[in-house]
Amino acid sequence: MPRPPSSIRPQPSTGGAPIAEKALAWAYLLPSLAVFAVFLGYPLYRTLYLSTHGNDLFGAPTRYVGLQHYTELLGSAQFGRTLVTTALFVLLTVVPGVLGALALVLLLENRIRGVRLLRSAFALPFAFSVASASVVFGVFYNPATGVLNGLLSQAGLGPVDWLTDSHYALVSVAVTTVWLNLGYNVLVLSAGIGSIPPEITEAARLDGAAGWRLARSVTVPLLGPHLFFLVVVSTINALQSFGQINILTQGGPDGASRTLVYSVYEKAFAYGSSDFGAASAQAVVLLVVVLACTAVQFGVVERKVHYA
């Protein structure tokens, strides 16, 4: 149901306003701006600062080293592998996550009984935290007593070391991540379908479009903006995924599932480490990559994505 048109309040200009009202505006903004300054603005500066300084055993910055941390990163085979692992993890989670959710919401568009219940069922993963999902999947992946190896043995196949075999570790974490984010993806695309004017869908049906043809010609194109939004958000989310890696594999075995964000944690905090300079350089790389994704979203959305 489209919202009835209502007058939009023009934003007040500052000219001629009483000084008390101008002061009130800043007073109302102060709590938010103070938190942003202390916990986002200043830390951004300090991350850059730390990334250009060496540090002592306790992490305190020592002498200025310029871009040494960055050049060491660029020359590091381990860092190169970390970047490749991160890119692979993004692909393994974003592609099945978005396509899986799209398939589900398109299936839900068929007028069958129980659709509302099914949609709620698909949203359930949204309730799970990264910690709760990871420990549940950890129980599944247990090589001796887990459900997955139980199913394999029922099928006459041998057991798999899901989390400790370098061939399967990253995929196992990715599967957990896809499941964890599926609820969010389904809700976003369901909202997108809900925002398609019913008359468009009905007109297409009257023209004989149904099922797959309706989906391909009408629904998916109209979901374009939501799909694009979901791809960008999912990419950023994958880049920032940490808990499932820390809980399931700790970046192992032998670095097989070490992503960029996990590497930041490992350098700065894991096992009593406090190499804040090197960790900060990696944090800056992560920041640049995430901001690039955000810039893509803002850039493309304004120009190319088809709108209903």
């Binding site: 309040r9 709590p31 935290s129 910690a131 599944f140 909202a191």
Partner: protein
């Protein structure tokens, strides 16, 4: 006939997908009530042969779950209340008050949505540890007392407020404070509910920050406690799943009963 076959295929696909998606939820619930025997058999039991509540007691003895439950509720509650308050005030200023540099200020709020938390986690850890706030409630909540997400959503809602109503309220002598809390806030309850649910879910489910800012089991949140259950020397899947079920109770309730509010917040640019 062709339509019936298509319909049947849709049913089968949806049923298969539903089983796949719901199974981890089911197993977390069922497993929490399974005996050690059921959980240890190979192939593993999918239905409890005998129900037991012993896993919950075992989990509570292994990790201070009750205390961590209170910690998580306190932290999530404070963060939710603070973000609602700071967002209401900021959105009101952006929409209804005369403000020089309105554009740049709004850009600052948008920018906060783009900065990955991981890029500022090291300095924030150093700052709060330096203030002596590591392993404290203050350390857990201070960085999250405000965010661009709630302000962004409320600004959208406030901008829809009819100008005539605002003018009528002003003629009646309503000042800014009264207009905000007596008229604007009550009329925006759906948006506020969406923000509250979303912020609570995010705060309750937080992992990275509690992991590094807390040191003792007594100060850890429930999400970190789940990790401790998993990392215990004799990790018992029944205890793990019991802990998971306890941690899921509030969020499952919110997702099941508050779904229409959650949908409102989804496309406002928030990242889970």
């Amino acid at each position: 006939m062709r339509a019936s076959l298509g319909r049947l295929a849709v049913y089968l696909l949806l049923a298969l997908a539903a089983i796949t998606v719901v199974f981890p939820v089911y197993y977390a619930v069922a497993g929490a009530f399974m005996t050690k025997g059921d959980l240890a058999t190979y192939p593993p039991a999918l239905v409890p042969h005998r129900l037991t509540a012993a896993n919950f007691g075992g989990a509570a003895r292994s990790v201070p779950l009750a205390r961590q439950y209170v910690n998580s509720a306190l932290v999530a509650g404070v963060i939710t209340a603070a973000q609602l308050l700071t967002s209401i005030l900021a959105a009101y200023a952006l929409v209804f008050l005369p403000l020089r540099w309105r554009g740049p200020v709004f850009a600052v709020f948008l920018a906060t949505l783009m900065v990955p938390w991981e890029a500022v986690v090291i300095p924030n850890y150093l700052t709060l540890s330096g203030w002596g706030l590591g392993n404290t409630y203050f350390g857990l909540v201070l960085p999250f007392l405000a965010s661009g997400f709630g302000t962004f959503m409320l600004r959208q809602s406030f901008r829809q407020f009819p100008a005539e109503l605002r003018d009528a309220a002003r003629i009646d002598g309503a000042g800014h404070w009264r207009f905000l809390w007596r008229i604007l806030v009550p009329l925006n309850r759906p948006s506020l509910a969406a923000i509250a649910i979303y912020v609570f879910l995010s705060a309750w489910n937080q992992y990275f920050w509690p992991l590094i800012i807390t040191r003792t089991a007594q100060m850890q949140t429930l999400q970190i406690g789940l990790t401790s259950l998993r990392n215990a020397d004799a990790a018992d899947p029944g205890l793990i799943l019991a802990g998971v079920l306890l941690s899921l109770l509030p969020t499952l309730a919110l997702v099941v009963f508050g779904q229409r509010f959650i949908v409102r917040g989804l496309t406002a640019g928030a990242v889970r």
